[in-house]
Symmetry: C2
Subunit: 316 residues, 2 copies
Amino acid sequence: MKDRYVIGIDLGGTKISGAVANFKGDIISQYTLPTKAEEGEKAVLERIIKVVEKVINESNVDKEKIVSIGIGSPGPLDAKEGKIITTANLPFKDFNIVNPLVEQFHIPAYLDNDANVAAIGEYIFGAGKGTNNMIFITVSTGIGGGAILNGKIYRGNTYNALEIGHMTLDEKGPRCNCGNYGCAEALASGTAIGKIATEQVKKGFKSSLGNYDQITSYEVFKEAEKGDILAKDVLYKALNYLGICVANMITSFDPELVIIGGGVSKGGSIVFEKVKEVVKTRCLKAMWESTKIVPAALGTDAGVKGAIALAIMESK
Amino acid sequence: MKDRYVIGIDLGGTKISGAVANFKGDIISQYTLPTKAEEGEKAVLERIIKVVEKVINESNVDKEKIVSIGIGSPGPLDAKEGKIITTANLPFKDFNIVNPLVEQFHIPAYLDNDANVAAIGEYIFGAGKGTNNMIFITVSTGIGGGAILNGKIYRGNTYNALEIGHMTLDEKGPRCNCGNYGCAEALASGTAIGKIATEQVKKGFKSSLGNYDQITSYEVFKEAEKGDILAKDVLYKALNYLGICVANMITSFDPELVIIGGGVSKGGSIVFEKVKEVVKTRCLKAMWESTKIVPAALGTDAGVKGAIALAIMESK
């Protein structure tokens, strides 16, 4: 692997970030452009190509030594075909993003969704290094997941495996964006925490949360820490459901490690203590004893690092 | 694979059944002895050996051509070590069942739990033939499962993967034997159906179920079919939870096929219609559209056939 390099591209609704890295994950060059999704498919594709050109040039790496390109994108997408099916914040509809990159740069390119890319990133560079079976769960505006099973990313039949935000945890729970009721995402995501708190305040429950125009999960965490009863109640209920979600994942996959990332995981020890407590109550002993639950290790560059890891995994 | 044979052993609480078969699964010879678990580890082991000797002799197959032995047993067990940890209806405690067979017959032997063995059986000989990712769920006294992922049995870190009977489906649901509340097994197993119906009758609800001394799931199915309102209510609630369990499996594993076996699956179209209806409501469209849900294809010989399939899978 000496003297071989990859390119990682993190395709997001606000920015396109790319980097050239070696197989240890050391970034040689990095460049970022705004996405400007409103300009449409062609303009965004051109900006992606510009980012790739720029990082290749600035890296001073011989292009022949760059063996693959990894692209992380919001989904749903078809990883096998390299096609983005649709996303909320990007212009692409049934758009093959891999082919134009291969044509332009003559380097094999691989696409996968955000959660899988983050899982691969943690597996190769982060908290999952050295494991064989691990689950990654991201909890922010939504809830998503990825699984490394027997040392490989597990994608499932339609590339939707680990869509765990849509696991039903309360059959009569709140309606989810997907149309179902009581999904993990409608009970325990950052969006859900903010929404439930707002509803409770509107109902007239006394709370320091009433001082905010718009209540987000960040405010709920902040006021819960200060001791506000409503904030604590909303938070504990959400974290209880997150714990059940993690417990059900452990019961199903029997992994050695569960990594929790995303905005909500940054709530720190309150999150991990509650999740571990629920898992201990709800999983068989052999399983909770043998499964570590830890925060994601990759920080702000997780998207690009994950895309680099995807490129490395696919070129092995 | 021509002219190569395997032995399959189905180790149960009431009987030990063994067979010699070719790689197509055709049984050449079969023999069954009562388990007589009360006689202890040594006596049961001797009977297992006797079954194996008998099927080898009666098969008229050259022993050199028998390449492996597969053993299916209730768990929990350590498939890697070949050790039964403990089971409700067998005398073995931390007992290595594989080593004495290897020593006696000089044939490699492999152990796995009932649900995994049934999954492998369906994958190689039954409803799962030709698939790549499939989930097997057995619903009888308990609920268990097994997964074939990317063409291989997925066992997890502690060989407990797919312990889906202990997935939490209702955080405030009835207490399960495992100590947790609202497990799938406590809501949707055959045992649960009988128990919930009995409780309702004891509470004084009018029902033709009141005519039975002991209400089992069989009676609930029978009276529901005749139109008894309580029986129908109990059954639909249980099947709703079974549907949620299947939906959560599809959301997690994104399989191409879910096979449902065990006593409750023999309830027929009422079971499969209800499960499919719930899955359609609770899974993302791309996933329910692409996942078939079918009954297990292997019948009374499922245990032996599964053990044969395990032996074949391990010797490939």
